[in-house]
């Protein structure tokens, strides 16, 4: 490939590639994101190739490996254009049928279409599926269309045009002004206005400045950043290059979580291709602007997602947070001005400059513009990655997009914002999800984790679980965080074991207050959210554990026991066969006797009983 040496070169290339893409009559895109890969989606690709070759169709059908489409619950996914027919849970053995019916005859394979768990309706077109229909996929939308390992795909779909426009028509300060006008707020969690951060860095004295992508995504169950980097790395890179131009940075770092090998691979390839095409390096697109970016890998600590700890890690020091009166935007890497933004924040930049700040600001609400990606997980029917305008209600997210609670159970709480987010009860389902509303209620946006819990979740156990995660991940510098979380964990553990005393609730509240108030960084300051929010909204449940030594949700093992309803049992013996400790005694054919001292309360019999004859108390 010849290096692009002017903006006209880029425009011409885009037109050529778009035209060539238009000529693709039949296109199959296959999700090869980490989630679908776990279901061996690479074998589906191979199966398609084999089948198309066998039928001499390889030339007529374009096959693309793409990043994550988002609907992970239904993976592996295949989308066929034209028609945008979405096939779910595809297996290699389904491929001949898909080729025969859909690619040759233009029919759909009914059994592979998404079926609504409630009502049973099937949907052929991807955009009609409720999961997708209620979304606004500004950033994720391209994931299903392009091969992340091909810069040509990205350019064909209009990629790098925002960069071209910026370099041709805008001064650096105009770019900063545009980002400010868009009202974009940092997607890493704190929601700080990106434009103001950029302004600070761009106006800071000194020639040497840096731009950094924070891709140290560590929240359990959250994979927004991973999916963007795996599925559309050039989008993030384009944002970074534009930012570097706006702030006068010559070097950029992409700080990537060590546990993301596919993201690293795709990102490195993207950097190489961008360099080859003259979009990175010396004299980008023939202009006087030069910029280089490299990847840096984290060493596996959750806390390095915090800005000052991340800077320390890039510098080669231990990734621990530093004093908060030092603003990274002014004194970051090596003491030089450094603009550090989350993956998703950078990904928004090309969109804002393509279509203008006013258009962008029209999405969402006044103080919370644009869209946000959430990883919707837990007890919902449709788990996956979703993208909605900020201000969308929890109800729309959980019930319209998420399809409601699994197994017809009752909604109990949703935790937003990752491990240090708060748990919000049913009465807030109409809450518009944005930075400010969530904070007001004692939770937070975080980077966009959303864990839905049903009636079978015990909120004491939930708080205990998150304290366990956070105590391991506290760097340990501040006593308030290191010991505060640890002691909260100890108290919660005691309550779950039925050893708690009522006066410990007050102590728990004091510890939560101190951890929040006295700690240095965001991790410590927010760590107590799961405790404070569950105490606030689910206090009765704590009291049941403390006063009555009872776990209402039937989760805390020390406080529950199983009983067998002799009437309902028909003596099928299934429970006896499965019980790992042989606590269900008696002859087959008649109801067994549950030997309580032997029972380890694993719950296997409870879940396995076809007649619901086993109860938890």
């Amino acid at each position: 490939m010849k290096r692009l040496t002017s903006i006209t070169d880029l425009e011409k290339l885009q037109k050529d590639l778009a035209l060539r893409r238009k000529g693709e009559n039949l296109l199959v895109t296959l999700c090869q994101g980490t989630g679908c890969k776990a279901y061996e989606s690479h074998k589906i690709y191979e199966a398609f190739e084999k089948e198309l070759n066998a039928r001499n169709l390889r030339e007529k059908v374009s096959l693309r490996s793409t990043g994550c489409h988002g609907f992970c619950e239904q993976g592996p996914l295949a989308v066929i254009f034209p028609g945008e027919i979405c096939y779910c849970r595809v297996k290699a053995e389904d491929i001949p049928e898909i080729v025969e019916k859909t690619l040759i005859k233009g029919e759909t394979v009914e059994r592979l279409l998404f079926q609504d768990p409630e009502g049973g309706k099937r949907y052929a077109r991807e955009e009609d599926i409720p999961f997708y229909r209620h979304q606004e996929r500004l950033l994720l939308g391209q994931n299903r269309l392009l091969d992340p390992r091909s810069i040509k795909d990205y350019i064909a779909l209009g990629g790098y045009q925002a960069l071209g426009k910026v370099l041709a028509e805008m001064t650096p300060s105009e770019v900063v002004e545009e980002v400010k006008k868009s009202n974009l707020r940092g997607r890493g969690g704190a929601g700080f206005p990106t434009g103001i951060k950029w302004e600070t860095t761009s106006q800071a004295p000194g020639e040497e400045k840096y731009v950094v992508v924070n891709a140290d995504e560590g929240d359990p169950g959250a994979y927004m950043d991973r999916s963007l980097l795996e599925g559309n790395p050039h989008l993030v890179l384009e944002g970074l290059i534009i930012g570097a131009y706006a702030m006068g940075a010559k070097k950029g770092f992409i700080f990537l979580r060590q546990e993301y090998p596919l993201a690293l691979e795709n990102l490195r390839l993207a950097l190489k291709e961008a360099r080859d095409y003259g979009l990175l390096g010396e004299n980008i697109l023939g202009t006087s602007f030069s910029f280089e970016a490299v990847t840096k890998r984290g060493a596996g600590a959750f806390v390095t997602g915090e800005s000052s700890a991340l800077v320390a890690a890039i510098e080669g020091r231990v990734g621990e947070p530093g004093p908060k009166h030092i603003n990274t935007a002014l004194q970051g890497i090596g003491g030089k001005p450094t603009a550090l933004n989350n993956v998703e924040t950078w990904a928004n930049i090309p969109r804002i400059l393509e279509r203008g700040a006013s258009w962008y600001a029209s999405l969402g609400n006044r103080e919370n513009t644009g869209t946000k990606i959430f990883s919707l997980v837990g007890k919902v029917n449709n788990t996956g990655l979703i993208e909605v305008p900020l201000g969308t209600t929890l109800k729309t997210i959980i019930f319209d997009i998420g399809g409601g609670i699994k197994g017809g159970k009752k909604f109990k709480a949703v935790q937003t914002g990752g491990p240090s987010g708060g748990c919000l009860p049913e009465k807030y389902l109409d809450l518009p999800v944005d930075f400010d509303r969530l904070r007001e209620l004692g939770s937070m946006m975080g980077s966009g984790g959303m864990i839905v819990m049903d009636e079978d979740s015990c909120m004491v156990d939930v708080a205990r679980y998150f304290m366990q995660f956070l105590k391991e991940e506290s760097c340990g510098k501040c006593i308030s965080c290191r010991e505060g979380i640890n002691m909260m964990y100890d108290i919660l553990e005691g309550i779950a074991l039925g050893k708690g005393r009522e006066e410990e609730l007050e102590l728990l509240e004091e510890l939560a207050w101190a951890t929040h108030k006295a700690s240095l960084c965001g991790l410590g300051k927010t760590a107590a959210n799961p405790v404070t929010s569950t105490l606030k909204y689910f206090r009765q449940e704590y009291l049941a554990h403390l006063k009555e030594k009872r776990c209402p949700a039937g989760v805390c093992k020390a406080l529950i026991s199983y009983t067998l309803d002799q009437e309902k049992c028909n003596g099928c013996g299934r429970c006896q066969k499965l019980c790992p400790v042989k606590a269900l005694e008696g002859e087959r054919g008649s109801p067994p006797h549950l030997n309580h001292p032997l029972c380890i309360k694993c719950g296997i019999c409870f879940e396995a009983c076809p007649f619901k004859a086993i109860y938890v108390q």
């Binding site: 308030s480 002691m487 101190a514 006295a518 240095l520």
Partner: protein, 243 residues
């Protein structure tokens, strides 16, 4: 010089000097454990919390890590400051229940007992890192480090092995506020058990008493730009004074 107010009164300090030092210089009794004026501030014990107002923003912060600047308004004993300090002290007291220094500081702060129970393998260390910084910044030996994270965090020589670069000077023992470090001298050797370090003692040529670990003498001789003559180190300070 800069002007700032502490608890409503005007004071002067050096620009960039940390607020804990400014406060201490002006007679404010701000409790602290991980701070030492000759070492870089760390902000780990969270006892020296104060409220700082800069412009329109008020934050609760550790005074030892906050640099002084013109116009700051500092409050050292608001209800929130006192409550946070009390809770920190209660936690620290649970970590190091037998340290007399910590007991007396707690007493001064009105903390007599701790509601927390912490009988784990903390061995009395509060992880304030004074020993780590003293060894690195004052002694220059740098044999101590923090390892692990969260509650497992501890101070130890790399890999928990005997630190061969430790010169046995005892500075770590001297600065430790928790009293969890001990140093023992026998006629033959000096022992710092916590670091698993044992060193041979140099005997005074005149009185034949052990007086300094051999590695420390070697360190001094090759250390500073202008080391003392070897002969000067051949006897103990007492005999040296006798001449």
């Amino acid at each position: 010089m800069i002007n700032l107010t502490i608890d409503g009164k005007n004071y002067k300090g050096e620009k960039g000097e940390n607020l804990l030092q400014v406060g201490l210089n002006n007679g404010f009794d701000i409790p602290h454990l991980c701070y030492h004026e000759n070492l870089s501030p760390y902000g780990g014990c969270r006892l020296c919390l104060i409220e700082v107002t800069r412009g329109e923003r008020t934050t609760l912060t550790t005074s030892c890590t906050y640099p002084g600047e013109e116009g700051l308004q500092v409050k050292t004993s608001t209800p929130q400051v006192l409550k946070a300090r009390r809770l920190m002290m209660e936690i620290i007291l649970a970590l190091a229940p037998s340290s007399s220094h910590i007991q007396s500081l707690a007493g001064k702060m009105g903390v007599e007992r701790t509601p927390f129970n912490y009988q784990k393998e903390g061995e009395g260390c509060i992880k304030c890192g004074l020993c780590v910084r003293a060894c690195e910044e004052l002694v220059g030996a740098g044999v101590l480090t923090f390892s692990h994270k969260g509650p497992q965090r501890k101070v130890e020589p790399p890999f928990g092995e005997e630190p061969k670069n430790c010169i046995g000077c005892g500075t770590c023992v001297y600065v430790c506020p928790a009293g969890c470090l001990t140093m023992e001298d026998t006629p033959q050797e000096r022992k710092i058990d916590r670091w698993k370090r044992r060193m041979e003692m140099k005997t005074c040529q005149k009185c034949h008493q052990p007086y300094m670990p051999t590695p420390q003498i070697e360190y001094i001789l090759k250390g500073p730009p202008d080391p003392p003559p070897e002969k000067w180190l051949s006897c103990c300070p007492i005999c040296r004074r006798k001449g």
